[in-house]
Symmetry: D2
Subunit: 349 residues, 4 copies
């Protein structure tokens, strides 16, 4: 891994909010740092890590060109901070979020710690919650569903990448009370496994492969179900069949959703419904042909294609995102933009 | 593309059946030629093509090392032939099959021309059938479902790769009358598109991509439905939701099947059902963890994993094959072995 | 391939130079259109093609989001144009460049037509030149070598991607008269073959492969030799051993250069030489470890690493670029920036 | 990773030599076990490992279908053993080889411990040698160069994959005294890094990349030089410029060799020289076009293409192998075949 002899300077507006990325050594945190370093309206003041302290981030991630040294997270140095992106694993994230809140920073948390409204559901999947008292201050950070609450939130729980793709696909149908049953078959590139060095990521094992994983037990299922329940209170307790697969690419995720509708819905009505739902959204593109994930690689866009199957009567929705961008780090920036009253697209185009 | 200066000789048993591959320039035909060339119990006497006549096959496909020149298919030279694999597109295949039959050869046809029992269904998807009178002589060539009829057949209609993976996954459930509804989400490597040179196969377009295709209208659906109907006559007219996706690898196919059962089925019962169904099968492996397609690459194996989802009550079956091998050409050889009373595994291990 | 229902508007400064891309259906032209569409200081007024007229560019290249329809190149509509990028094959490019020049537009030509100073050399490799009279108005467009002439040029002959990587690696050594002999072993992703649909680009043939091509006869050799001769007039007529290979990725190119020096050069002197040569360059990064091409993917950067081999005495230089960006289209934009007196980095970061 | 419910039996001839693989958990050992398990003329009696004891090998490597449990290497159980393949890292291998020799087993060692004739050279690159007294009993195991000594050897030092490809390319030229200078630029798939879980093998880092490594200091250089010296005693002490690169595929290796000849050699002479050198070799194919590594994937073949560059006078030789097969494990089997007087191709076609 190489390191440029002399880093280039960050450029940002005077008086820009000061932000740090806590946990910048992983894929999500490193990309968040990259996006904020080149963001015209934020000042990235530090990147922290629990390992690799003293290493420059552009040596760990040469492609991102962020010439900051990774620091330990020292509470005394948090004064004056406006915001933070926290990219720690679940359970490790919540105490850090609490610390940051104590210093007045507003937080976008990339972990699962604040995504679920139900503490019981959290504890069923993740074990005891380290800071349950903070749950009430957290807003679910799927921008297109909760824009107003996000703008005012102290803590934004950035959604998982699978729920992001799935919920953007299903929200118009859920709001219309149309989902009687749903199967979500999701496929993701290897970056979804993060900076994990094992059989699941080794090119000679993950390459030329298609691998289903976490069969019948994926932690993202309750997150999707909670949000669908909220969108369609008339049909609560929908049980979602969600299944994840690893396929051999780097970044990209497709959620193929198969919905048994509560009533017959034709192609024309379906397409109109999706066009209307997302007409004003800067980052959701409703398209007229099945989208490939290449089309949204390294962007904050989600591309959706919906079709009604005349043969079976089912509704099909395909949702393509970049799992690291809209699925994680660029959606965090989209949320930060809202929280600091900046144009939602700032730094993302 | 390179060509070895001097080819090596074919080795086969004395008195071995004489076989040709008609249509050896495509992926399926070329692989069939490769498998038959190295087969100890068949003599591959010719490879034919509608293009590339005069070119040696090992120049078109250097990895296969078949040093035969591609010939035009000349009826006079078909005398004395015992068998043929026909690898032409649908509609082009049937007349060739008829010609070969007229010379007494038994045929494994890789096209769709003889897969469907219903002429009406064929014509709905493929147009007018060139040789409908031959349909009654054809047997559906999914070895594990129709072994006895295949052994005696004049024409074996080799299944499509998607139906192969899907039907091996669903047959035990269909026979038990357990399928109330099913979604099949299939993913396949780019070799599934064959020797097509276009956007769908260019590495700079198909690479780093996941692409759904033929949404709500895949020709393999009626083939799957016909076979499931035959397996479960008590629940005819099941409508199958089948969806195909291209993912960036060469060879490999996974069918993820989501079954809404007609009654609750637990994990133990499910696994026992699959173990029993395939206990004697040399090429179907029931495994205890989700299979990756790498595990069956360049083999005639199908790996199956079944699980009951306690949360949703659905039954999940994952079926991994190599689309060009068990999905196409090695299954053709498996069928030829049966047709000529050879060990079913001959030339395939 | 999908197409967004409604395109988003282009944003550019008032009074920005008006530019077209002629030949936007290929990889190079499409990327140039993408870069100019999002460029803050150019107005992209049209994209033209010899095929696909009437198709929107974002349907051919969904990832680029340029919502312009491909037009035929109509001379009457060229009035008022300030600049053009021409992305036609060699021999087809020159007449179009002439037409554009006749209307006063300044041109960056991506073909080979104006790269060679010697007409005889051109004709040896490419056949008769369609517009030899224009050669004297053309400047070789490797920005870092000919910045001043480019700024004033009517026609800029954008270099080939291999010469770009090779010459940036070798220029400091050539200027110092240090190259007695050189072997350049270059590896490139499949996008280097462009929108060609054949065996060289099919994922099932190009994937899992490493393929040398154009052995002992690559058209880029004389282009490299001419430029090296100009840099080191004291050692003219250096014969460059250049060899290209295709490796299975999309975008990315590495030139590994093995130089037999005219005198012994140690590591310290070598590194200092490279640091000094490129200290002021915004897009050339001299790094302290071997660069991977991922580090420069989808950027205009070139990363260079130089080392002296104590064992053999040879000098090794590794040069990593994105063949479609710095190797082609983003270098064209870099040159356009110079030609119109804009910051060299505008639109490229 | 899945495991077949019931393994299939190994088939081998009565009285077949008994062999173990010591170190079967790595890529090389696992493949050797796979090849020997299906070999008709060897009985694979055990697979051992320093980790994963008690795990079945087909759970670690599902694609290989070797249903043996990994065992610790227990000296008492080595009696009656005829042969062993040792696949430990250098320095760890030699003591195990000594133990196996003490029990009378003949050994093919895949490590570097017995490859170099010069102890001084070994210690310069690898540190102190654990069993220098065994060096005199070891033969360098490049089959095509040392066939007779291998047949009689107690210890065969299987070559590295880079020396295998490089020496097969250069041997005809070295024997003819034609090499004045040579640059070897080698490219290899990620399996060359073995079961190492780090940045170099993670698909999201190694994918879409081309990476030079071990610049100016590759351990395989002295191995190549020693063998070339032996082939061309008249020009000893040739200094080889060897450089390795990782490219994003699984298995496959290409060595591109650029030779400055001691005298002019034309294409016709060159090709005749290569044809003659390898006319009788079952696993070396001299071809008439540049070979891609796909052509030899998962085979014991080496494909060679040689050309004389009229422009520079240099001789170019391209050598394609599968780094894990001919480069490592199948060459080990080829050597075992020789050592036990079996047909050299047994189990390898």
């Amino acid at each position: 891994m190489s390191c440029v002899a002399s880093g280039q300077g960050q450029v940002f507006a005077a008086g820009a909010p000061r932000v740090i990325v806590a946990g910048a050594t992983g894929f999500a945190g490193a990309l968040a740092a990259h996006l904020l370093w080149r963001h015209p309206d934020f000042e990235l003041t530090a990147v922290t890590g629990r390992s690799e302290v003293g290493t420059r981030l552009d040596r760990l991630y040469p492609r991102y060109r962020v010439p900051l040294e990774i620091e330990a997270l020292i509470p005394e140095r948090l004064d004056g901070l406006d915001a933070a992106v926290v990219a720690y694993p679940h359970a490790a994230a919540a105490p850090t979020v609490a610390e940051l809140r104590a210093h007045g920073a507003r937080v976008v948390d990339l972990s699962a710690d604040f995504r679920l409204r139900s503490l019981a559901t959290y504890e069923q999947w993740y074990g005891s919650h380290p800071r349950p008292e903070l749950l009430e201050h957290a807003v679910y950070g799927l921008t297109e569903l909760h824009r107003e609450q996000i703008a005012a939130a102290a803590i934004v729980a950035n959604p998982g990448c699978y729920p992001t793709a799935s919920l953007l696909a299903l929200a118009p149908l859920a709001r219309a009370g149309l989902i009687a049953d749903v199967v979500i078959d999701a496929k993701q590139g290897i970056s979804g496994a993060g900076r994990a060095f094992d059989e699941s990521t080794h090119l000679s094992m993950a390459g030329e492969n298609i691998l289903p994983y976490k069969v019948a037990a994926h932690r993202h299922t309750p997150e999707i179900e909670e949000q669908l329940d909220a969108l369609d209170p008339a049909h609560p307790r929908l049980k979602v069949q969600f299944q994840a697969h690893l396929v051999p690419l780097d970044q990209g995720e497709l959620a193929s959703c198969y919905v048994t509708p509560t009533r017959a819905v034709g192609d024309a009505e379906l397409r109109e419904m999706f066009a209307a739902a997302y007409a004003e959204e800067p980052f959701v593109e409703v398209v007229d042909a099945p989208p490939g994930v290449r089309e949204v690689a390294q962007t904050n866009y989600c591309r959706l294609f919906a079709a009604s199957d005349q043969h079976t009567g089912k509704l099909l929705v395909f949702s393509a995102i970049d799992n690291l961008w809209k699925g994680t780090s660029s959606q965090a920036v989209q949320n930060l933009n809202l929280m600091f009253d900046l144009p939602e697209t700032s730094g993302l185009q």
